[in-house]
């Protein structure tokens, strides 16, 4: 059976509201789920009208198209069964049984029958071009640091790990850095650049793609200024924060594994290939 992943036809605010409903339904059962992706950045900008407007009007998926395609959630592996119960029995979401049967160890896919958007659920680890770990429950509980979304640093990492980054992800990063200052520690409304630098200091391939993506971001940002889609002040804010992040990454001492891999460089593949589902 196929579920065509076309842009969601409900307003972004309604999508966000229904997504938060799912997170809260899980919380009521002591199950941790957090929103990721572009929608998470939109959610975290809920009190910044300038950022919300930009994320919707910069043409994430093309001019005139709805901005979001789906809801991405992440939870803990130890709560795998409870998450399925919450989503299937509590929220009446319809599972993609083929995907869940075969890839269920790393991904569950559902469909919202009323509002008709697909939902991807990940567990503790994002395995795309690079790997991002969120720790096991209840120990290194990174998912508990913010709600109903990931932390801002994790949202940034989620975008920075993409090898073939595209416009929508760069737009999300621009919005993220426009709406949130950077910080050297974990704070609810700032991007913890020290944490990002720490993650990248142990993974040369991830570091390489992240630095390249920050360069792409600057290129796109400058282009938006030329096109009048961003004001010079907005861009100054974003690029200043991006520079602060790059500085933190540069300053972070690198691990022996990082240095060893750096010697090999791009002569061997440094990222994993991601294919359509």
């Amino acid at each position: 059976m196929s579920i065509e992943r076309s842009p969601v036809n409900i307003p972004p605010e309604q999508l966000l509201a229904e997504s938060i409903e799912i997170v809260k339904a899980a919380e009521a059962k002591d199950v941790t789920l957090r929103i990721m992706g572009g929608l998470a950045i939109y959610a975290h900008s809920s009190e910044n009208e300038e950022c919300k407007r930009l994320q919707l009007t910069l043409g994430r998926l093309g001019d005139g198209k709805p901005p979001f395609t789906d809801l991405d959630l992440i939870g803990y592996d130890k709560q795998w069964k409870q998450i399925r119960d919450v989503l299937e029995k509590g929220c009446n979401l319809r599972p993609d049984r083929m995907v869940n049967a075969i890839f269920g160890d790393r991904r569950l896919v559902y469909f919202h029958p009323r509002s008709r958007f697909p939902i991807d659920v990940f567990f503790e680890t994002l395995e795309f071009s690079h790997i991002i770990r969120f720790g096991e429950f209840p120990g290194h509980a990174r998912l508990k640091l913010d709600s109903p979304t990931l932390t801002l640093a994790d949202m940034a990492l989620e975008k920075l790990q993409i090898h073939d980054i595209n416009k929508k992800d760069l737009i999300d990063l621009i919005v993220l850095f426009l709406g949130h200052d950077v910080s050297q520690e974990t704070q609810p409304n700032a991007v913890d650049v020290k944490y990002i630098a720490h993650v990248l200091s142990d993974d040369w391939g991830f570091w390489y793609d992240a630095i390249n993506n920050l360069t792409h971001l600057k290129t796109l940002g400058a282009k938006f200024v030329e096109e009048g889609k961003l004001t010079p002040d907005q861009w100054t804010t974003v690029s200043g924060r991006v520079e602060a992040l790059k500085g933190a990454i540069e300053a972070e001492p690198k691990t022996p594994d990082w240095k060893l891999r750096a010697e090999v460089g791009t002569s061997k593949p440094w990222y994993r290939e991601v294919t359509d589902l």
Partner: protein
């Protein structure tokens, strides 16, 4: 509520798959029965088709296989989800056809029966001969006794059960473990055995082999001059080349072996790149070419060269008719091992097809479980078969059921050796069913499922799907008709075997309608699933 009809593939946040087209190439070789000559071609087809040239026949088979490769690569590009033939036939023709052909006949009859025979062959033609010959070469009676035990009912069942447990464990662990074991264990061993077998056969001559054969026959059979006795049973003749027999053999090699590199179709959804026609087609061709040019032609040509046509003809006669009487079965495996007295070399020659039975069983379990999974998702089989396991998160229930079915057939076949030919005839007759159904699906798909066909990249290759389906159908029809009408290929089915096949069809038909009725009572219209609309 309905979803828009569209492509079968989903464009979404991606997934990293554990298995690639390179793995599919290796799987294809496994599923095409590596060292097919050891298992099936000799002595049967030497006996039935004297004068057939094995090299030319293999090339004919490979050429015919290109149509099957195009057929399955097309389906993979259009519907790269797991379930393979079940999905192709249900979406192309009718769900009842897919249920009968794939679930009823293949999962519960042909596949477990066939793998039972394959594992038995791996034991009888690989493990047992090696132990026997190692014992004969070293004067170790215990090894000879072990070889005899392995070939007996208890030995076969014990070894098969052990293989089954290991294969089930690998599958439950996930396809990546299946892929790794095939890549790092089976594939190197196949290459080693392929090289050693060819080297052994091409480094001997008929006169040299005569000496070896007489020596080992003295040990194993207690008779002298067995070489001359054996070839005189057929008048010491070497059959003249026969084009017709070569063509017949080519079609059989194609439909029975080189066609089967496509049988990763049941788990296309788990293979990276399986939505790409060109990549899949290349993987299939590479598997077929490897099978043909590395695991068949050198071995078969070496067999003729080293042993001599007269002896091959005589050994084929003995293998099928049993004259003259021998205490050992002069199969491809044991005759190859007679060209040396070095036990280490014997092991290297045998190890490839000793392990092939296990690795084929591994993939048969994978395929059977994915067919069950697809049926469960479509609502024609119980939901439990597609529920991911909490612990392993693979379709464990479907895998366990598949293993249980295999275990039942192991017991039925191994503990009733006098019924072996009966079960073999059932397996052979139901063998063409899978490709038969999928070829029909290929022929009609551009008309019966326009939405998927027209929105896929395959539609730009006008006529490819239909023509390749027609060629594959013709080959399978030839085989079925050949079993009935061609004197050299007569393979009588027998009343009991016919009844078994009909019974499985009737049970499948009854289940399909009864379960659909049961699902309707729960508010699930099974008919809607085949129209690509998620059931409400």
């Amino acid at each position: 509520m309905s979803e828009p009809h569209g492509t079968f593939a989903r464009k979404t946040s991606g997934v990293v798959r554990d298995v690639s087209l390179r793995d599919a190439f290796i799987f294809g070789i496994t599923l095409a029965i590596p060292f097919a000559a050891n298992f099936f071609l000799f002595p049967l087809y030497s006996f039935l088709l004297p004068g057939a040239d094995w090299t030319i026949a293999t090339v004919i088979g490979l050429c015919l296989s290109l149509a099957n490769y195009a057929l399955y690569a097309s389906f993979g590009a259009m519907m790269p989800r797991s379930g393979g033939d079940y999905v192709f036939q249900s979406r192309g023709v009718h769900p009842l056809l897919s249920f009968l052909s794939v679930i009823s006949w293949d999962v519960f009859l042909q596949a477990p029966l066939f793998v039972t025979i394959l594992v038995a062959s791996s034991v009888q033609l690989g493990i047992s001969p090696f132990l026997t010959m190692a014992g004969a070469a070293s004067g170790n009676q215990a090894l000879i006794n072990a070889g005899n035990w392995a070939a007996g009912s208890t030995g076969e069942f014990t070894l098969a059960a052990l293989f089954l447990i290991l294969a089930l464990a690998a599958n439950i662990g996930g396809l990546k473990w299946v892929a790794r074991s095939q890549k790092y264990i089976l594939f190197p061993l196949m290459i080693i055995s392929g090289i050693v077998i060819a080297a052994l056969l091409f480094s001997t001559t008929p006169s040299g082999f005569e000496t070896s054969f007489n020596h080992y026959a003295q040990i194993l059979n207690g008779t002298s001059g067995s070489y001359a006795t054996l070839i005189s049973a057929t008048g010491a003749v070497a059959p003249a080349f026969d084009w017709l027999h070569t063509i017949y053999l080519g079609i059989i090699i194609g439909t029975s072996f080189t066609f089967w590199t496509v049988w990763t179709a049941p788990f296309f959804g788990e293979i990276k790149g399986a939505n790409n026609f060109r990549g899949l087609f290349i993987a299939f061709v590479a598997g077929g070419a490897f099978q043909a040019f590395f695991l068949m032609i050198p071995e078969l040509a070496g067999f003729q060269y080293g042993l001599g046509s007269q002896f091959v003809n005589g050994a084929a006669f003995q293998g099928v008719v049993g004259i003259p009487s021998l205490a050992f079965h002069p199969g491809f495996g044991i005759l190859t091992l007679m060209t040396t007295d070095n036990i280490a070399v014997m092991f290297l020659a045998s190890v490839g097809y000793m392990v092939a039975g296990y690795f084929m069983l591994q993939l048969f379990l994978t395929n059977m479980s994915r067919y069950l999974l697809a049926g469960s998702i479509d609502g024609v089989l119980p939901l439990a078969l597609s529920s991911p396991s909490r612990r392993f998160k693979t379709p464990v229930n479907a895998l366990v059921l598949s293993a249980l079915v295999c275990a039942i057939y192991f017991a039925l076949v191994y503990f009733q050796p006098d019924q072996f030919s009966f079960w073999e005839s059932v397996a052979v007759w139901t063998g063409p069913v899978l490709f038969f159904g999928t070829s029909i699906a290929g022929i009609v798909f551009p008309w019966t499922n326009k939405s998927i066909y027209n929105s896929s990249p395959i539609s730009k290759y006008k006529g490819l799907l239909t023509i390749s389906g027609l060629i594959v159908l013709a080959c399978n029809l030839f085989v079925i008709i050949g079993f009935i009408a061609i004197p050299e290929l007569l393979f009588p089915l027998g009343t009991n075997a016919t009844l078994i096949i009909i019974a499985f069809a009737l049970v499948g038909w009854a289940w399909y309608f009864a379960f659909a009725h049961y699902q309707k009572g729960k508010g699930i219209d099974v008919g809607l699933t085949y129209k690509e609309i998620p059931p409400e």
